[in-house]
Symmetry: C2
Subunit: 453 residues, 2 copies
């Protein structure tokens, strides 16, 4: 059959249940631990901070979880997203490989983040909550949650990593247009923010610190909970809609990928994209390569340690067993703001540890080379984060050209770069850094790891 | 049948010919005249300035023109665009009306402009041209043409209306990322620009003046032609893909609109959207209302004159019979940069003159009220230009609520507002102006009209 440029499922073909990737693993991830007792956390431990239904999902081992009808309605406004055959990129690379990408950037948030923002805001509303807090790095999560909270009528406060809020002033304006209040982090409005400013008044901020601020603000606000857009299991659960749609579409085309590639920050986009193929791989019914692509400046998989660690800088979260650079790691300013987190989702960490997934890290300018080639051939201007996956896919396609072997390559184009034009300008002007941390740069982060392995 | 939120045609269902709206009119628009001889322009008159194939299309009366295979390939990367049922907006308005919109903003240019940019760059390439010049107001056309020129390997110079280039610095960065060179207009690089600066060194620029600069630059550059993104017949021709897709999709749903609403700048989006329904109306097989929505600050239809006029400020173009405020009209700064042109496509002007189309003008803040309501209910952040159509649709839907009569309303969501966040900030801060020109403000423009009726 002839393969179209774009394949959309019909709304009736959309999945009506999320897939719980960790339930598919033979060797499941270690449980989150209470930092005081070092016992696995319970629903009661996390319910004061998390929305109840999300806390249940976080701890749930069911293989599939039904998507509520109200969330399906929201998804139908924004989804299904297109699966695209990258004919023009293939031609530009002169490769025998077939390249597909799942494109999550056609909604206003510009990324996959809306897939989790919608159910998170819905479950909060269902519980009768009136306020939510969160943090955002690149701004995609904050934008997505602002949209969902506007839709469900919830008051939202966003702590935005300061360097991102300065690089992307209009991201803040989008969130405010949707009614959210946005505070650059570190801020003087929380104890965690004040502590960070006391240590370094010029702090550029980090996701880890913004999480601490948002957690603290949630605890101090009535009828409020804290929500977040990556790392945790329930977020990866919601993102499974990406991978389930992708597999349905590729099945319709009679295709099965030899390689599945996603960019890796906290892991939500990656975990969502790979879920169905990872389950096949674990079950032994197929053996696709699965590749996580991360920035060389924040290499949690390729240079991190597999250890229990805190999710935030203030060390207030439960302990999570994951690949981590340590909650004390201070990420260098980098234009892929969504990939500047010190850790990685525990299921993906376990898969990497068990050899079910590979990982590769690229310096920033190589990633932007790939981004511009992609923009000029395929049209779409990619987010810096997503461009890591593009770079990974291009490298695999070039290997195919060199070996003369055709492969089917699938990657996730998690978002668009409309709010990243400063990054593209820095790239073109030559002022973009290719910083890679030395072992000495990584040492303080590792020194901050708790002694729980 | 149950109506989905979004309806996509398959690639095989996409139209493979453009529809020539003026060929459908019983009373066709008057021909363009050579300003020296006052005779209808010929191919030879315009070929030195225009790409040959586009000049042919400009003068062609065939009812349909085949889309070249190479352009179809480009369209398949970016299209078909979704037809969306605005369930959430309907609910928010508590209206019995059914509201549909055709959404052209999912490509990186953020608007319908790519529909014409692709064939224009392709025909230039086919003719062996190496350079193109153009102007851009809001930046959507410049972005679209940059993308198309990157794809076809053509060197592009864009004259960008100065006020837009200052309101939207990152628009310029997108164009440059796609390899275009961008000059704020008026500039000191052309005689037309120098004349404008001599008259007013602080000139904010206008589309009419930017056209003069781009025309002049094209004439002075080897192997170069001038292209533009609205007003002319061949541009409306290319945009017919919008209306043809829309009619196919609504036919599949068993729907026929009672009202068709588009925003009106130079007319390309409007003419493209309405073409199929306008043809039905002319043929007498149906009688939908067709409504053009324009800004009260630049009211070419509602307060302009139906007269021959120049397309540009320097009075170098052929004379066009159209509704116009006069090429000497100086549009007030307004956030809908794409709707700041003094004239209107001649076919649409003729239709309006003959009572086949209505027109309405709204002040700026009312339009942004509609934009924010739409963003918060339907999710998508609309361009200020497109928000005029939203405001028109909302007003029709409210009439349905008041009368208790259900109607089927179709409007064109021509683009997204990602690069218009300064406008949204001004709206929220209360600093947005609701300027409406007085008759005295309009007088100088009318005084500039040539004495050819």
């Amino acid at each position: 059959m002839s393969i179209p440029y774009k394949t959309y499922l019909t709304e009736k073909q959309m999945p009506d249940a999320w897939m719980n990737l960790r339930a598919a693993l033979k060797n499941p991830p270690a449980p989150m631990l209470h930092p005081g007792t070092l016992q696995p956390v319970t629903f009661d431990d996390v319910a004061p901070v998390f929305v109840g239904e999300l806390a249940k999902q976080e701890l749930c081992d069911d293989p599939f979880i039904s998507i509520p009808g109200e969330v399906m309605d929201f998804y139908r406004m924004m989804r299904p997203s297109p699966l695209v055959r990258a004919y023009s990129l293939e031609k530009a690379l002169d490769t025998p490989a077939k390249i597909y990408y799942k494109f999550e950037g056609t909604n206003t948030s510009g990324s996959h983040k809306l897939n989790s923002a919608a159910p998170q805001a819905f479950f909060a509303k269902q519980q009768g909550l009136t306020h939510l807090t969160t943090e955002t790095g690149a701004g995609q999560w904050g934008t997505a949650l602002s949209m969902a909270c506007a839709f469900y009528g919830i008051d939202l406060r966003v702590f935005m990593v300061k360097v991102s809020s300065e690089q992307k002033p209009y991201r803040k304006a989008v969130m405010e247009t949707y009614g959210a209040s946005v505070t650059p982090s570190p801020s003087s409005t929380t104890d965690a923010g004040k502590a960070a400013l006391a240590e370094n008044p010029n702090s550029q901020g980090s996701l880890g610190n913004a999480i601490s601020e948002a957690l603290e603000a949630a605890m101090k606000t009535e009828n409020c909970r804290y929500v977040l857009g990556s790392v945790l299991q329930h977020v990866v659960l919601h993102q499974s809609i990406i991978g389930l749609e992708t597999k349905s579409a590729l099945d319709m085309l009679g295709e099965y990928p030899d390689v599945v590639i996603g960019c890796a920050g906290g892991g939500s986009n990656l975990g969502g994209l790979i879920c169905a193929y990872a389950a096949d791989k674990v079950a032994g019914t197929s053996n696709p390569r699965i590749i996580a692509v991360e920035p060389a400046s924040c290499p949690s998989l390729t240079r991190g340690r597999f250890n229990y660690d805190f999710g935030d800088v203030a060390r207030t979260t439960p302990l999570i067993k994951m690949y981590t650079l340590g909650s004390g790691f201070k990420p260098h300013a980098n234009h892929a703001g969504g990939l500047r987190y010190h850790g990685m989702n525990p299921t993906l960490s376990q898969m990497y540890h068990d050899g079910l997934m590979e990982a590769v890290a690229y310096p920033q300018r190589d990633v932007f080379d790939a981004a511009v080639l992609f923009a000029r051939t395929e049209g779409t201007l990619p987010a810096p984060e997503s461009s890591h996956a593009i770079k990974g896919a291009i490298d695999e396609a070039i290997k195919c050209r060199e070996s003369g072997v055709s492969k089917t390559i699938l990657f996730g184009l998690s978002g668009t770069g409309y709010f990243d034009m400063q990054a593209y300008q820095d790239y073109r002007s030559g002022s973009m850094s290719d910083y890679v941390p030395t072992d000495a740069d990584l040492a303080p982060g590792f020194a901050s790891l708790p002694s729980v392995e």
